[in-house]
Structure formats: structure tokens, C-alpha cells
Subunit: 295 residues, 2 copies
């Protein structure tokens, strides 16, 4: 059977479900990052890998500095989603033989810029010749205080669902220039007991069902409350993807205090209550808006 | 300027030389692995990334189980070269939409087999659609006792150069079925003060000059002593690449004891004294045998 039509989530689940992992693997495949450590450690290590491919995640005529920024930014967004911060990065490049050296230098400049901004050391990598398109795979380690580490799976029926920023229309530029929400997530997880969190990379319509499923909960969304990027429809917000915003679940008792504190701390970044986790899968239909890389 | 003709080593040097790294980065880009830790720590962390691409590192009709074995085996070979052992792996896949699901399952089976054999936990990964060929990038963490960690750069003029196994002709099959020399390197670095070590991935003709240059030394090789795979020429041994054997430098005073102990411990794996590090670049001509991914 060909992969197209098989379903990305199903494939990943089947490929990874029988992997043997050591006892120090607190969270393995299936969350934003892997979490490594002993339960009693004060800090845990986070591990994440991600890649961008020419023609899929950026176009040939894109500014190479922005592409370099995006390559590491995507992995940082996943580190943020666990409440962590980035530490060491490795860069694997698949390079077509006719690629311009100047383009690669621009790419590395963008990569260095975001690494410096977020305190990441680029400590190595690998180059190989690509017979097809350029690609870059980033591996990133991070750290998280164990008491502030948040996964996708801790959500409870009754929790309120929040998203940062505005959703949809990322293809118009934000997908190359977004800011990973490291600072916001660090603040949030230190101040509030966040039950579950993830970053929005495939669109709310795919990602929210994943968070709910990992938490063993259903969900409902007030579609009219979804914060839209200017000029975007709800459909854009659900299915465009690449928002790199945070989606998280928190008890309703904390909602008022959270909203007031957020406004004070991050006055320029909207925080929006978009729905709730519940007992049943009442809005399963959101799933049909999801983005499947192979569909 | 196009990359072809620019030189892989030059490109990598230029891309990585200006990267800012933290004080915990003991060895950064340019060695087999990055080394992370404080000088006084008993153990250090190793970080490595590597990739394989269809049509470059394996052919479409190759056994997927073997391809999966190779994908992780290459990174383990680099971990071995530092005297370390593998710990946690992350898998990034770029998958063409028309790929067979059965092939991917075979690939993961091979990956699981080698992970289990060497005690590596596969803790996560990422899948993306590849518009071109299939590729797999592996990120691997490892650990090494700080007092047994070996880099490429500690070689001294007068050291003897040794290689494990036989070189050349890997393309006939060994490139898919090799055993990373984790066990051998662990034994070696615990028993003997190894000055410098690396794994042979691009061929002795490329890799030895790298080790010598990193050590600030010249080298000479007794070409007639190079251990050849059956049916191979010296040229094959220098330039075929993908041997995944160890190359290391050790003081001549330890040579006799090493050779005797090795024979006893690893009776089936040849260990061969192929040359020496020296003060001048007397055999610079070996460089012309090297494998450049972009040439």
C-alpha cells in the first residue's frame, strides 16, 4: 500500500509503538519533545528533531536568512510547548550540487541569528549531497524544570482551552518569521499549573484533536472566538497550519487571574479562550479540517 | 558560486567557524561528535547527527531492514570514535508520497534491531513529505566517561596509526551491514591512552588527513600494509569510503602490548599498524584519493 491515503498519524503510531525505550525515557515518541531523566531530577532533558524541505516548507526564492531562522525556530517552538528552553543544536543539510554557496551562507546567518537570540549553541552537523531538493534537519536538545514540564496528555474534562496570537494565513509570511513562544511558555508554566500544552504546527483543526486524544478527553470550540489573522477565515485558522502559537489547557478557576496577568506581561500578544475539554468527542468534526502531510 | 567544486571541508569550515557556542561545549563542530559538559564532570554527553539519502547512501532496491540498520549504525560509528556509547535517538524521515508502507515498516524494523543491540532508545522523530527521494536523518545522544573521551585532535608526531578491520569495497554489501565499533572502542579507550581517533566514513584517503590536520601533525602510511578487503586494491581502500572502521593514534611504547591484547580480545577482527603521525605533511598526496560528496 502507498503512503498517500494511509494517514500520517496512523503511520507514525504504527512505526513507533513497538520501540523499546529505557527507563529514563519519561516521554517518548508522540509528544512535542521527548523527555529524558529520572522522576526525582530537578531538571530534565528535552530532545526534538524537525526538518524543512525546499518546495514543502519554503519556496526556492525565499530569503535564505528567513529559511535558516525557520529551520531552528520550528524545533524551538516544540521546546517551548513543553515549558523548556533550547540548549544545543545539530544541523544536517542535504544540498543539491548546483546550490549557490551564497545561499547557504545566508541560511547559516539566519540560523545563527535565532540561535543567538534564544541561547542555543550550534555544536555540529553533517552535510550530504541531495539528488533532489535542499533539506535541513535540526536536532535540538533543551532543558526543563521537572516541576514545570507540560505534555499534551495532562488535560482534564472541564479545562479551558487557550491559544496565543492569531491563527491562519501563515503562508503570507509569518511561517518564515515567527517567534517561538519560549518566553511566554516559560512565564506561563512557572506562574500557572498548565495541564496540557502543544504548539500549533499543522493547524488547530489537526492539533487540537491530538491534544484532546492524548489527554483522553473530548473538546468543544467556540468557532466565533477563534482569533483570526487579519483577512483570514475560520477555515484558514483551522487548516492553514504553521501558526507556531501555543495551545494549552488550564483549570477554569485560574482563568481570570491568567487573563489579567497575561495582558500585563504580554500586552501585544493576544491570549484567547477558544473552548473547553469535555468528556465526549463533541466536535470530532474539526478533524476534517486537519492537515495531513501525505493527503 | 555553485557548491560543486567549492569543496565540502571548506564549506563546512566556513559555515561553522563563526558560530557562538556556550562554555559547556567542550568539542563543537568538526569532530565526530560534539562533546557537552563541564571539564570536571565524570561523564560527558555526546551529540551526533547524520543522514542517509536514497540514491546516495543506498539504492531503491536495497533491503529496507538493512537501510534502517545503516541509518542508525552510521551515527553509532561516530559515537564509537569518541569512546562513547549511544543513548537516545531521534528519527526524521522525508517520505515521498508514493512510498510503500511495507518498505517503511521494514526500515523501522532494521532501525529497531540495531537500536536494541546497542541499547539505544528511539524517543521520537518527525515525518515530512519529500518531493524528491526518501531520506532519513538520525540524531543520537551518547555518553562517554570524561577520562576516556578521545577526539581527532590529540595525536602527536611519533604516534603509531592503527586501523581496525579491512578497508575498501564496502559498496558490495558491508556499507549496509557493518557493525559500529562501539565495543572495540570502549575496550580500547579503557585499556590504552589513545591520543586521537575517528571512524572511517569517507575513506582513509580523506579521513586520515583530517585526523592529522586536527592534531597539527603530518602523517606517513605504509601503503603495502593497508589491510585490504578481499578483491580490493589500495585505491579502493583509500577512496571507496563507508568502511566504518576505527582509525587511531597511540604512542609506540604501547604498541606491542596493544597488539597482543587485541588479538586475544578480538581474535576475528584484524588490527593493523598502517603508519605514523610525523612532523611534516610527507604524504599530502593521499588527499587526492579523498571522497568529496559534491565533487
Amino acid at each position: 500500500m502507498k503512503l498517500a491515503g494511509y494517514g500520517e498519524d496512523r503511520l507514525v503510531r504504527e512505526l513507533t509503538q513497538r520501540l523499546a525505550v529505557g527507563r529514563d525515557v519519561l516521554v517518548g515518541a508522540g509528544d512535542d519533545c521527548a523527555v529524558i531523566g529520572r522522576k526525582t531530577d530537578a531538571q530534565w532533558q528535552l530532545l526534538k528533531t524537525d526538518c524543512i524541505i525546499e518546495g514543502v516548507h519554503f519556496l526556492k526564492n525565499a530569503d535564505p536568512k528567513k529559511v535558516g531562522w525557520k529551520a531552528l525556530g520550528r524545533a524551538l517552538s516544540d521546546i517551548a510547548a513543553m515549558g523548556g528552553k533550547g540548549w544545543h543544536g545539530l544541523v544536517t543539510l542535504g544540498i543539491p550540487a548546483d546550490m549557490e554557496v551564497a545561499w547557504l551562507k545566508g541560511f547559516y546567518k539566519g540560523l545563527s541569528n535565532i540561535a543567538e537570540k534564544f541561547g542555543v549553541s550550534i555544536v555540529g552537523g553533517e552535510t550530504a549531497r541531495s539528488p533532489g531538493a535542499f533539506f535541513c534537519s535540526i536536532a535540538l536538545t533543551g532543558t526543563v524544570d521537572s516541576k514545570h514540564c507540560v505534555t499534551r496528555s495532562g488535560g482534564k474534562a472541564g479545562d479551558r482551552l487557550y491559544v496565543t496570537g492569531r491563527l491562519g494565513g501563515s503562508i503570507r509570511g509569518k511561517h518564515l518569521t515567527f517567534t517561538p513562544r519560549i518566553e511566554e511558555a516559560q512565564w506561563l508554566t512557572k506562574k500557572f499549573p498548565v495541564h496540557a500544552m502543544m504548539d500549533l504546527s499543522d493547524g488547530l483543526g489537526s492539533d487540537l484533536p491530538r491534544l484532546a486524544q492524548a489527554s483522553g478527553a473530548g473538546f468543544m470550540v467556540y468557532e466565533e472566538k477563534i482569533p483570526l489573522t487579519k483577512g483570514c477565515t475560520t477555515q484558514n485558522a483551522l487548516a492553514d497550519g504553521e501558526d507556531y502559537e501555543l495551545l494549552f489547557a488550564i483549570v477554569p478557576q485560574d482563568a481570570k487571574r491568567l487573563e489579567a496577568a497575561w495582558k500585563k506581561r504580554f500586552p501585544k500578544l493576544p491570549l484567547t479562550h477558544i473552548g473547553e475539554l469535555c468528556r465526549n468527542f463533541e466536535t470530532e468534526n474539526l478533524k476534517s479540517h486537519g492537515y495531513d502531510h501525505f493527503a
